[in-house]
Amino acid sequence: MRQRKAARQRVASIAASQGVVAMNLLDMGRRSAAIEQMATTQAMRMGVDSMNRRPFFSSAEAAPSSDFLVCPYCEFRHTSFSFFCQGCGALQPSPEEAQVGHYELLDCDVGFDVDTARLSKTYKTLQQSLHPDKYAHKTKENVPDVQASADRASARVTEAYRTLLDPLKRAQYLLRKKFNISVLEEEQRVNDPELLEEVMEIQERLEEDPNTTQEDIEALKKDFDARVCKLVNTLSDHFRRADRQSLDESSIREAVERLQFYYRIKEELQQWKPK
């Protein structure tokens, strides 16, 4: 309690020093806005432009751990991202402010190869600590927008987890963030007639061939699981090679597109019913 009171006093003093009327802070809505503004101003003072989305890592290097966010409650200056202040332990206003990427959010090494068991564990632990029930009573005590912060943080964690867990989404994310390459965009066409023919042929078997049986479907499911597995390994090789040399863009694009179609076929196989 004492800690929180002290934190609140600090908020007021920071606000005053920045010309924000301290009285406004008593109003919940304005209060959160003021705090966000403070975080932004603080971050900008430290050379982090929170208003523009700065890529969280722009080269082949790992994520930088320079000035991230200043705790609005106790002014602790963090050198790496953390949901909870390393100084006072308070939940930070928003992970959005920190421009933090999925990998960092889930404390995971940047790369295509991901330890999914560890990822899931981190995810569950984080979601437990960000659970809305933990913050419900705190809102009553007028702790500034802490529940909203927890909700936002929780949503961000889920988004990051879903992206990193799925190899296709992970590849797409990694290509965009680390290599500045966008794949699977709306206007992009697939320049691989062989792949498209293959997709068409499978589709014809599923939709039109009256002789297709449940056993065929099960065999196809196994076949496509194996193909997906192989493609994921191919992607992994490509990304690992990219760390040593340069990225083979056309091959990696081809693999990602193929994977997307395989996903689509797998969906169709799941939904298949005998004619």
Partner: protein, 153 residues
């Protein structure tokens, strides 16, 4: 997000329930141009074929692996180009399809894919039968009349 929930328009429904010109020409059939186009973003694939005789698209067939809008777009596209010259068919705009089917903004890309399919199928025909089309244009319109028109304008 309202657009995503919105139901298909009646025209989409009609073309989706009763798609026109579904199928493909027999392998090795002559005077056929084939296109297969795909979009990885959603995994849609359209295979579209045109049969061109005497400078006119006599028949068109398609097979589409995709959502209702993609199927309706390709179905309507084959309807539109039948009986047209390849040059006229090349003028087909995705908006012609999208407007008729009243596609919501999130589905406009389906009509674009159908437009691409038509263009590529005709281009494939022109590649396979070079000279045939130009000869027909010359016979149909004639460079002279074209020049006269240009002169008059």
């Amino acid at each position: 997000m309202a657009g995503a929930v919105r139901r298909y328009s009646e025209n989409v429904h009609e073309h989706f329930q009763h798609p026109r010109n579904v199928g493909s020409f027999k392998k090795g059939e002559e005077h056929v141009g084939t296109a297969i186009v795909g979009k990885a973003a959603c995994g849609d694939v359209i295979k579209l074929q045109v049969k061109i005789e005497e400078g006119v698209i006599k028949d068109a067939k398609f097979k589409t692996f995709g959502c209702g809008s993609a199927i309706a777009s390709s179905s309507y596209a084959t309807e539109l180009i039948k009986g047209k010259t390849p040059e006229e068919a090349m003028q087909l705009k995705n908006t012609d399809i999208a407007d008729y089917l009243k596609l919501p903004p999130v589905k406009i890309h389906c009509s674009l894919l159908a437009e691409d399919a038509v263009r590529h199928a005709i281009e494939d025909y022109q590649k396979k039968y070079p000279g045939v089309t130009e000869a027909t244009i010359a016979a149909d319109e004639g460079p002279t009349s074209h020049q006269q028109q240009m002169g008059a304008a």
